[in-house]
Symmetry: C2
Subunit: 695 residues, 2 copies
């Protein structure tokens, strides 16, 4: 690298490249295609472009990033960044100039093209039996005749009124007991965990308790904030996994641990800090928003209209006729958490090395009840976190979450459940037997590694149709309802293709005859069409999905032969896995296919079948089940029986290591082909043109 250039990497997008020294971070972000919010147009007055310069050596990228590689701190920055955040490396993107290699983290609130995390809670049936329940108890004051201790006094009340026996009390909660009892005039509300342990005592009478079900993905962390008494989901909050800066997939993070002395601790600390932020975000969602008052007069009026009434375990605020809860982190009394095995290990500080090494044994399968404080997670100080159990090294607690949400073990029909992420997780079976497996799909299906792949964000192509005759492409982007053919070109502002668009594109390229069943551009048929061309720089064939004038990046958005190969590799891994599992179970066909994960919500089941993600199945029996892993965590939060069920699942689902099957390589090669009749896909008849299907 020449002396006047520096390597800059933006996280979590992963965009990287050389930029001239001396430009500011906003300028660099533009050069590398990263959107940073900058409302004031670099006038240094809006404070929206706050980014964090990371410290450390990043082996993977061969750079050492440091605050010292940034121009000196400016007085103007103090208006927006306090001393604590300054210490952590926060800077204004419009002020800080690049003077050396840097890894720059763009916090969610500074991202212009905010990620669309689609993890809304689905309506699945859950019994109401939370691990944490609240009880009111009124006791007599001690006397000389009856000077029994405070704890025994409330235990006697809890046994008399609710039949609870042999309770213990966490020391942190016990410390609050004597004053709570006296403040509440010998009436208290007691939160009891699993009918065993008192984890919170509040003076007086309260009705509510709250919990969080957290799904920690390799890329995204999402949480359902739930009312444990009504089962209502109060809010869904999400964030990027802050570990993304150490690598995009689990193997990269395991490698980071193995090559960096305190790597495990850094990654663990980061995700814990992230969880604490997420918890605060969830809790803050119950607070009324602060409004900026324009006029003095208005302020007075507002002060009168805001009425605070103490009631029901939290402060309830009535403002402008609306009711708000005003909860604090102490009101979070339970957490359930699921993740893949590597994320599980890293978060808990368990050595993830052996999970990444054949035969991939995890440190533990079984679920755990861990005091949140022992992990540094800040909720009610005595509360536990329920950590869902792992199935195997590559089929983690998140898959157990999917299982207890979907309950294939309660049905006679054979279900194939596919959870597509950076790693594909597969479960097949019914009430008699369940097997699971994993396959390395890689990140192609999520948009990485493709020329114009991107995450699900505004401007991402999420739906595609290609006309068989004209090879014209119609498409829809996130953030605009109208399809291309109902819009002016410049209205589209397309930027790339996201996951669901990638599933569509392969199916459409195939069924419109642009590519053959082996995934090769059908040159003979295409030679008349301008969308097919050779890239003048690389001399590689490519197909234009959106013209430059329809884009916001002023370039044609294309899919190349190499891109198609990447997608084929991913879909091939998944299909081969499914096929081997079906064979192992001795089945002819699967009855139901469920697609979970981010894809699960948006997937076009016809196109998923067309591209050959899984063996043939009746179209009506293919369904997206959304964030089933998160739903499983939520089920475990609200129903204790689901925790027992989760452990049963983790022990009774047989894990199959596909890569050791003798036919795996052969099956994998064949699975890269697109579905055709020789492979027997009768349910595609009428969907894919006969001449293509019969080839």
């Amino acid at each position: 690298m020449s002396d006047d250039k520096a390597m800059v990497i933006f996280q979590p997008s992963g965009r990287r490249g050389e930029v001239p020294k001396g430009i500011n971070i906003i300028e660099a972000s533009r050069l590398l295609g990263v959107d940073i919010e900058a409302l004031c147009g670099e006038k240094k007055v809006c404070g929206k472009c706050i980014v964090r310069v990371e410290e450390g050596h990043f082996e993977k990228y061969g750079i050492t990033s440091s605050k010292a590689n940034c121009s000196a701190w400016q007085e103007e920055e103090e208006k927006f960044i306090n001393a604590g955040r300054r210490e952590k490396g926060f800077r204004l993107g419009c002020m800080a100039k690049i003077e050396g290699d840097m890894l720059i983290f763009v916090p969610e609130e500074s991202r212009a093209g905010k990620q669309v995390v689609s993890k809304a809670a689905r309506d699945i049936p859950i019994d109401h039996d939370p691990a944490v329940r609240v009880y009111h108890v009124q006791v007599d004051a001690p006397t000389f005749e009856e000077p029994t201790g405070d704890f025994e006094r409330i235990c006697r009340g809890l046994e008399r009124d609710y039949g609870l026996q042999n309770l213990t009390c966490d020391i942190f909660t016990l410390r609050t007991l004597p004053d709570a009892l006296r403040e509440g005039k010998w009436a208290v509300t007691v939160s009891v965990w699993n009918n065993k342990e008192i984890v919170r005592i509040r003076p007086g009478k309260h009705e509510k308790s709250y919990g969080l079900a957290i799904d920690v993905g390799t890329t995204t962390v999402a949480a359902y904030f739930c009312d444990l008494t009504t089962m209502e989901v109060i809010d869904t909050v999400s964030m990027m996994n802050p570990q993304c800066k150490y690598g995009e997939d689990v193997m990269a993070r395991i490698t980071f641990h193995m090559t960096t002395p305190d790597g495990l601790k850094r990654m663990s600390d980061d995700i814990i800090e992230g969880l604490n932020e997420l918890i605060e975000k969830a809790v803050a969602a119950t607070h009324p928003k602060k409004k900026k008052k324009k006029k003095k007069k208005g302020e007075e009026a507002a002060a009168q209209s805001a009425e605070v009434i103490e009631d029901d375990g939290f402060v309830e605020v009535i403002e402008d006729g609306k009711e708000y809860l005003r909860l604090s982190i102490d009101d979070v009394e339970d957490i359930t958490i699921g993740f893949n095995t590597a994320m599980h290990h890293i978060l808990l500080g368990l050595n993830p090395e052996y999970v990444g090494m054949a035969p991939f044994p995890p440190v533990i399968h079984h679920s755990m009840d861990i005091k949140a404080r022992d992990l540094g997670v800040k909720i009610n100080p005595s509360s536990y976190m329920f950590v869902l159990p792992n199935e195997a090294g590559f089929v983690g607690a998140d898959n157990v979450g999917v299982l207890i949400a979907e309950e294939p073990y309660k049905h006679e029909e054979n279900q194939l459940i596919i959870d597509i992420g950076t790693n594909g997780e597969l479960v097949l079976g019914n009430r008699h037997k369940l097997i699971s497996s994993s396959c390395a799909t890689g990140p192609a299906l999520e948009g990485a590694q493709l020329s114009y792949g991107m995450r699900a964000a505004p401007g991402a192509i999420e739906r595609i149709n290609i006309d068989r005759e004209t090879k014209e492409v119609d498409y829809k982007v996130i953030g605009r309802d109208a399809w291309r053919k109902f819009s002016e070109p410049e209205e589209m502002k397309a930027k790339g293709i996201c996951g669901s668009g990638i599933l569509d594109v392969l199916a459409e390229l195939y069924s419109s005859g642009v590519i053959t069943k082996s995934g090769v551009f059908n040159k003979k048929e295409l030679k008349e069409f301008p969308r097919f061309r050779k890239n003048p720089d690389t001399n590689q064939p490519e197909f234009v999905l959106a013209w430059a004038k329809e884009s916001s990046i002023d370039r044609d958005i294309v899919i190349t032969q190499k891109d198609i190969r990447q997608i084929q590799l991913a879909k091939g891994a998944l299909y081969a896995g499914c096929k081997l599992m079906v064979k192992r179970m001795g089945l002819e066909k699967v009855d139901v296919v469920k697609i979970a994960g981010a894809f699960g919500t948006h997937v076009d089941r016809t196109k998923a079948l067309t591209m050959g993600l899984f063996p043939d199945c009746e179209i009506e029996k293919i369904m997206g089940v959304g964030n089933a892993a998160g739903d499983g965590c939520r089920a475990a939060l609200l129903d204790r029986k689901k925790r027992v069920e989760a452990n049963w699942c983790s022990r009774n689902v047989e894990y199959i290591e596909l890569t050791v099957e003798s036919t795996f390589q052969q099956d994998f090669m064949e699975s890269m082909q697109l579905p055709h009749m020789k492979d027997d896909f009768p349910h595609l008849r009428g969907i894919v043109p006969d001449d293509i299907l019969d080839q």
Copy 2:
């Protein structure tokens, strides 16, 4: 106070007084009768006189102590006091000059007259069933066919080899599992707590585990360091309770909490820090002492003779032919702890306010299993502390310790167990019924509040005989085996009277006719004897126990009429308590009297009966049981059944509040009298002269 004087208080002795400003701390200590070690005679070279200047306002004494009230730091001090200790207020006594009010703590190692803490372990029968047990387990390495997780793998081994089921593992220990398994080539030693939870995993095969039984007294903290596998007591360690600086008795400490915003936290932090020092001291006792090598040649030879062999769970060192264990704090895998209710609450951070306020309810009676880390106690990170249960506000876990050591509930005969401390605790009963009570004996029996009272330390009079005819006093001091009559006067070096001497003195004054049964000097009989006199300053009658020439303080050591009243008040409180309890139980007499506490080891049972500490009892059935509270903690450490028994005791011993009994005041007044035949003490016949007993 004049401007040129300052108030100085030494702790833990409590000695206080005004001293001229400008003198150094050693000089002040001499003026106030505090012995600080100063081997070099203030030549500033031995570094033995290290003391700590406390910071803070001490309400009780009306002074504010500060490092700033001390002369400036001197370069010579750096040789002995590092920066960390300097920060904490440590100074050399011979260097630091007094320039204002100061509270000075004299660490144990700097005390010249080291306290004799008599808390050796007694030989009581204990079953071997410790809560923590070690198991060896050898497992197979994971394979593709059997890729089960590490935790499940060892659980399977533990079930197969030892029948252990449904084990959990503390997260701190789980973090060590994967590497321990691989380091030990799939063989590990697992420490299991209560057949439930894995709290330690070590690679390879180990045999041992260790624990501490701790008895936290108001004044003294003592611990038995035990081998959990052999039940052997490896060492007994003790220290002053570092909370002494906040007040000498429990009420003073409760008051400190109520009058000081962070008082509870300060006292709790201090005792926890003290426990950590005690644990380190216990562990260090297993290390070979470092020897100062004189010659280069010797060093080489020593290096050759010191051989370190790794074996059996710890590093064993063979040096000069001697074997040493070399344990670390991680080798402490269990702790049991007992204390009075106020010390219990303060250590655990529980509000002690209500324990000090009628009707004295504790926050909790029941025993607790608390992770040592949750209290900041530094042992094996996953290990628990078993906190013994409390009987009542003034009969604490220490008394439960006494009970499970003495087991009166297993016998038919009625036992009266007296635990004498600043607070007297009484238990009476047998296998059919047990009642307990407490009485405010005050600190007189421990030597406080008397003109020449002192703690058990060299020079303290611990035994006294007074001749009826000549009124001559023979006595023995701690630190010298020969009695006065076999010694030259100047050999005695008497300084004061300690607890056991105080018990003797009242009995001897009475049975020699020096005082009457009502405790008044028998002036008529005494007028011939020079030992009886009126103090020229106070005009109060007093009796000389040791002449100035026999003392190291160059003064006559006397007992005054006021001193005798103080002792009578204390013994009266105890006797009245016993009498009311005997009445409550409907008994004629008690079969056995057991005396526990520091007195328990040294008490002369005849004299204890003569002074009327308790109702009449056959002399042979009066026995000292030493530190029974500590023995009970040790029993609970080595035998889990004792923990269940402890909870049974705390619930089934009925606590009687004596002060609310209608006859209490009357009984108390009468109880100050010394035993005579009208009160019916037949067993004193032949011990106390007839004319005295029949008066």
